[in-house]
């Protein structure tokens, strides 16, 4: 581990020694349930003006490289991506290929999760294009971090914690690149239509609202307005059309297959029974299952009910 990473530490409420600074930012040690009260205002992006956008609302630029340059890509910026394509993502790696070509250094990659398809980014962690990842670090990327090879300190957040960190300005996103299965030229976008449909784009929602600059990348450009839209064009600065944004077949990665383990199926069955007896399972009710074979299998038992 680099010596500059060893900083002043404090014992938190559950007796664990934690650093008071990480990546130059002050950290708040855990104080116990309900003990910490945040203060201040929600983060807000800079005001933009219609004077900077075409009068017809067409924000299309030639390619991702052009969009990143127009967003003012420079050293030290924080770039966010979402993981709705899971292991079928085709955009995140392109961003850093472009940054590398442009000689940009010390970027912070802020994905909502990383996957094996992004393993190649280790070369940019090594050559200094990327300073650190703030988000999940799995597989080869995780190994790279665990071995202390990453220049900056990795920061792991829960998905909810990530959303909160964006809203509260703990992480200031300079450029959000949102891969969208369907979008219009104004930037309205959804994840449910198009050949690369991946479902919802919820993880990109906060990024679209709070990032300083927002790029929507799509392979299915539709005439304005794109209906339905989950990403609102009002927040979007540039739109880009590519051949392919993602491979939907690869959304089913290791953590999104229904389990075959009888023990885990039993857990799922008991969980579903619990929900039924708690009276929350009704016709047309909605529920969210986390990734992971056990959680996903609960749906089977709801269907049987």
């Amino acid at each position: 581990m680099n010596n500059n990473k060893i900083l002043e530490q404090k014992i938190n409420a559950i007796g664990r020694k934690v650093p008071l600074m990480a990546n130059g930012q002050a950290q708040i040690p855990y104080m116990g349930v309900g003990k910490y009260r945040p203060d201040g205002f929600k983060h807000a992006p800079r005001i933009s003006t219609c004077a900077d956008y075409p009068a017809d609302g067409n924000k299309l630029v030639s390619d991702l490289r052009e969009a990143l340059i127009r967003c003012g890509l420079r050293n030290g910026m924080t770039i966010s991506t979402h993981h709705h394509f899971r292991n079928g993502d085709l955009i995140a790696v392109q961003i850093f290929d472009i940054a590398h070509e442009l000689g940009i250094k010390d970027l912070v990659w802020f994905p909502s999760a990383s996957f094996p398809c992004q393993e190649v980014l280790t070369k940019y962690l090594e050559d200094g294009t990327i300073n650190r990842i703030e988000g999940s670090m799995n597989g080869a990327l995780g190994k790279f971090c665990s071995e202390g090879k990453m220049t900056g300190i990795g920061v792991l957040r829960s998905h909810g914690g990530r959303y909160q960190a964006v809203q509260d300005g703990e992480v200031e996103i300079d450029i959000a690149v949102i891969a969208a299965p369907t979008a219009d030229a104004f930037g309205n976008a959804n994840g449910v239509n198009g050949s690369a449909a991946c479902g919802l784009l919820g993880f990109a929602l906060a990024d679209s609202q709070y990032a300083d600059k927002v790029i929507v990348v799509t392979d299915n450009l539709v005439p304005f307005p794109c209906i339905p839209w989950q990403i609102q064009g009002n927040y979007v600065d540039y739109t880009v059309v590519v051949d392919r944004v993602g491979i939907p077949e690869k959304i089913i990665s290791g953590t999104t297959e229904v389990t075959k383990s009888p023990d885990r199926l039993l857990l799922a069955e008991m969980t579903s029974q619990f929900c039924v007896e708690a009276g929350i399972v009704k016709e047309n009710f909605s529920f969210q299952a986390g990734a992971g074979g056990t959680a996903l299998s609960i749906g089977i038992y709801f269907a049987e009910y």
Binding site: P262, D263, L265, L266
Partner: protein, 408 residues
Amino acid sequence: MDKIVTTGIKGKGIRSDCFITLEISESFSSGHVIDLTSKVKSLYGSSIINLCKDILNFYEIKNAHLFVEDSGALPFVIAARLEAAIKMLIYTDKEYLLPFLAENKYKKFKDSRRFSRLYLPGNTPSLMINAGIHKPDGVILDLEDAVAPTKKYEARFLVRNALRNIDFYGAERMVRINQMPMGIEDLNYIVPHNVNLILLPKCESAAQIHLLEENIEKIKTKHGIVNTIFIMPIIESALGVINAYEIAKSSPNVVSLAIGLEDYTADICTKRTNEGLESFFARSMVVNAARAAGIQPIDSVFSDISDMEALKVNVLKSKALGFDGMGCIHPRQIIVIHENYAPDDVEIEKAKKIVKAFLEANEKGLGVVALGSKMIDPPVVKRAEKTIQIAINTGKISLNWREEDEQQ
């Protein structure tokens, strides 16, 4: 003696097990050298090493080179693997036993329900550990066909420790021993550890049961054990089928008679089909022999674990032939087996009417029971009572079904 032995299993996909490499030599002078690889080394490394040291010291081994390749083994597994390795190198009567889990001291009865019995390979700890949560009527720790011939010796230690240290949550604790005479040696590892029932494979005569019981008794006397150990002979050959009745009544401890169709169909030079015409005679013989002896007839396993619909059809057929239960090889089969051996709604309603009529006739002091214009014979009443009892036991009706029915 500079022999190196190995026990246990390692490799990709192996869980809850460990692989032991052990060498004991007078020429080692530095005491024990223990190496450990484990994914959980930072959390459990010292406890694993301490357990190994304790076992080596228990056997008064001074100088050992031990390499433990752990894949998440629980202490009872590590202890079984290391004890087996030690006993491959030195002769000793001592047994290294972890404390017997208090939850495991329960008894079973002659007429305990035996709808389902889940086979668990005797050398595969990962399948044993959570078996009880699926609520089979019985779990079978299998020392016979599910264990590779080269692993038979070490499997005995694992099965013994599993009987002592795994909570099977009330399932009948069964062990399938090896065929006679090899099965006799298995008894030392199970009889003293509250095995509820022993399955004897390839049983062909009452004499085999008598031999088995003699040996069980010897061990019981030696260890001062008073619990009854039940026996379930498995009929798997033409000779076994022909001798089914003498086997069924060979001992009061024989509580059920099972049939194994894979071996049986091979023995009569045919193959097993889904229709089962080739085994109709044998199955009927087993049902009749068991019923004649007043014990439970138990059917063979259904081997397609992915087809629950076919399993259901199979169970209903089996029930119609007169069987009381069957084996299973996957936990997901248990619920299908239980639901379909249990009486269905039509059977329950009919049984209720018969039992009610019987009770009413008794209350009125009538000697003859009639339902509508039909006379009801005592065996019909008896069967109806049994149906009601099973319906209560399987939660299909409540214990107070009669009062509840009257209130409606």
